[in-house]
Amino acid sequence: MTEARPILLSQGRVIDPVQEIDIVADLLIQHGRIQEIAPRISSSEDTNRIDCQGMWIVPGLVDMHVHLREPGEEYKETIETGCMAAAAGGFTSIACMPNTSPPNDNSAVTKFIIERARECGNCRVFPVAAITRGQKGGCLTEFADLLAAGAIAFSDDGLPVADPAVMRVALEYSRNFKTLIISHAEELSLSRGGAMNEGTASTRLGLKGIPAAAEEIAIFRDICLAELTGARLHIAHVSTAGSVEIIRAAKKKGLRVTAETGPHYFSLTEDAVDGYNTLAKMNPPLRTEKDRQAIIEGLRDGTIDAIATDHAPHSVLEKECEFHLAANGIIGLETALPLALDVLVRQEGFAEADIIRLMTGNPSNILGISGGSLDPGKLADVTVIDPEREFTLTTEALHSKSHNSPFLGRTFRGRTVLTILEGRLVFDMLQHAYYMS
């Protein structure tokens, strides 16, 4: 790869919660690394000087929960299209879940994913390997071998580890490697057959519901097991008020528990399902307004550490059908930041630095990966956000191969306009107007 020209991001608002920086300044990128942050930096002739007035310069966003669908379901998404969507959404690091076909339960699949991502070159991909072979909930995968191949955490995401004894063993074994177990918390005997949240809307629509208790029981179980084993535990896609309460209590107790939620859980409620809208079908399901408020409070007080998209591409084959048959999940890479700006910053009054922390430093800390800050000397993963740029989400505007978003047609204010990975421009709608809007 040829050495990229130095880039000078000029006079933007540099927000880096890790360094506790929030100042208007220049940021210079050279040799793929962040060189300097200073009020004024003079640049050489060959420097690509980009005017960032009115924009935010933040660490490249980190999404710790993405489904890339490759290998096996390339008609939904490939590593290439997923990475393009990530770059367009401002993400420079993403962690991909193991429920591919075959699942990422051995080092060959892990290496394949990393290799494909390297070829694509516009986003750093960190594979999360399966906890159990074939995600079947029985025998553990080879943690040591998977970690050596480049896996960074373990989860049977998409499927819960149903047997608590297996989860206990996984948590215990994870301690040998100081690695992270990510829990897809769902008590299947309570959720089975359910298509949406159990409550008012499910009654109105005559659909079988999934009670909040199905998630909360599973979270509580895994927290008890984390306490028993002394292992680290991360709870994926938290969606209910009760879950927030359980995690809050666990943290208060000093347990090594972290948690994430998806942008949809702080943006939408079960009412989005009205009219049997399969684009609002996901697991865990969209909950009530009370839950949505509790999720926002959890993000505000630090109970929930990270915003992760659970980007789950599905084609029209899985979505244009009977609600019961429709697949769970929505894409999220290209709407996560706009939703955080709309809902958390403008409606809920979050500080800008707080949402950046939830989308950069916190998730990279949890995963133990580089990035997440703008420290001089670090690899230059940088995202430039135009907080005022308006755009309407259309299928044409999406980079993801799938278009299963309940936000299609919605007009957002604020988005990523420039994404830099290791000093290279991987997404640029600042200097190149052709991209759309």
Binding site: G199, T203, L205, G206, K208, E320, C321, E322, F323
Partner: protein, 310 residues
């Protein structure tokens, strides 16, 4: 006169529309008492009965209603359809649509399936029961039967007993009766109550005797044995019959003018004792008769109004 091109559910209708349908049904019922039970208004119209679930009464009722209005009918049962060959529901509907029917009457085991089809076809769609969601024509025939008896629906107490959570009849009935000013109480094993009865407009009373005390209308739902599955929601039919079955002992405490209803088919001796089903207060067969009249009304209203729509 109807706002929608389709009849997807009671939740899509207004009280005025419901009254209008019931009035129309009343005049249709008169036709059924004539020696020649056939009139010409829908001559040249085609009605497809697309049933993905077995049905005897409802299918026959729709078919007779269509024939009495001189429409041509075709029935498709799931076992003979291309669904078993892996065709999607939307494709099945589009293919039927390509043959230019005027109305598709559809029953499906999944909630919302007729709503999905309605988005993809030009024909009018009538929901003949979708999963655990709605069965609007059943609710309309129930309203008609009750209105014939009491002259009004407003202010009546209606009690529905049984598996409320999984009954599309109950869902449609609760919404329809409460929309027309009746007070709806539901009763049965607590395992069979909906998560949020309020969302439909019903109050739950778990004590059968209290639930039926002031009722003008007592409706027992069929216990669907096929729904019992791997996790039974009550211990035994014996216990259900003793706790929630309508027996003489229960009905003897009812108001003198109370009527007994059942959407059929009845499990005699489970949700209702034979004596109660055949008692003077039972209007179960009137419901069946009115079913044809209500469906004639729906066909007529959908097809005569359709021309006026853009």
């Amino acid at each position: 006169m109807l706002k929608s091109r389709h009849i997807l559910g009671i939740s899509h209708l207004s009280p005025d529309e419901i009254s209008f349908i019931l009035d129309t049904a009343q005049s249709m019922k008169e036709i059924m008492d004539r020696p020649i039970k056939k009139v010409p208004p829908l001559r040249g119209k085609t009605i497809v009965n697309l049933f993905f679930e077995p049905s005897t009464r409802t299918k026959l009722s729709f078919e007779l209603a269509a024939k009495r209005l001189s429409a041509d009918t075709v029935g498709i049962a799931a076992s003979t359809s291309s669904v078993v060959k892996g065709e999607t529901l939307i494709d099945t509907a589009r293919n039927i649509e390509a043959m230019r029917p005027d109305i598709i009457v559809m029953r499906h085991s999944m909630s919302g399936a007729p709503h999905l089809i309605a988005n993809h076809v030009e024909s009018a769609v009538i929901n003949a029961g979708d999963g655990t969601n709605e069965h609007p024509s059943q609710a309309l025939l129930d309203l008609m039967t009750v209105r014939e008896h009491f002259g009004t629906l407003n202010g009546l107490n209606v009690t529905i007993i049984g598996d409320i959570a999984h009954s599309r009849v109950a869902h449609s009935d609760i919404m329809a009766f409460s929309m027309m000013g009746a007070r709806v109480t539901v009763c049965g094993p607590a395992t069979m109550m909906p998560p949020d009865p309020d969302a439909l407009g019903a109050r739950v009373c778990l004590d059968l005797n209290k639930a039926v005390k002031d009722a003008h209308v007592v409706m027992a739902l069929r216990i669907q044995k096929e729904r019992q599955g791997s996790l039974p929601l009550f211990p035994s039919e014996r216990e259900y019959a003793r706790s929630f079955g309508l027996s003489r002992a229960v009905t003897s405490e009812l108001r003198k003018d109370a009527i007994i209803m059942h959407p059929g088919p009845i499990n005699r001796g489970v949700e209702m004792s034979p004596e109660v089903a055949d008692s003077i207060n039972s209007v179960i067969l009137e419901q069946v008769t009115n079913g044809v009249a209500v469906r004639m009304a729906l066909f007529t209203l959908l097809l005569t109004d359709q021309q006026k729509l853009p």
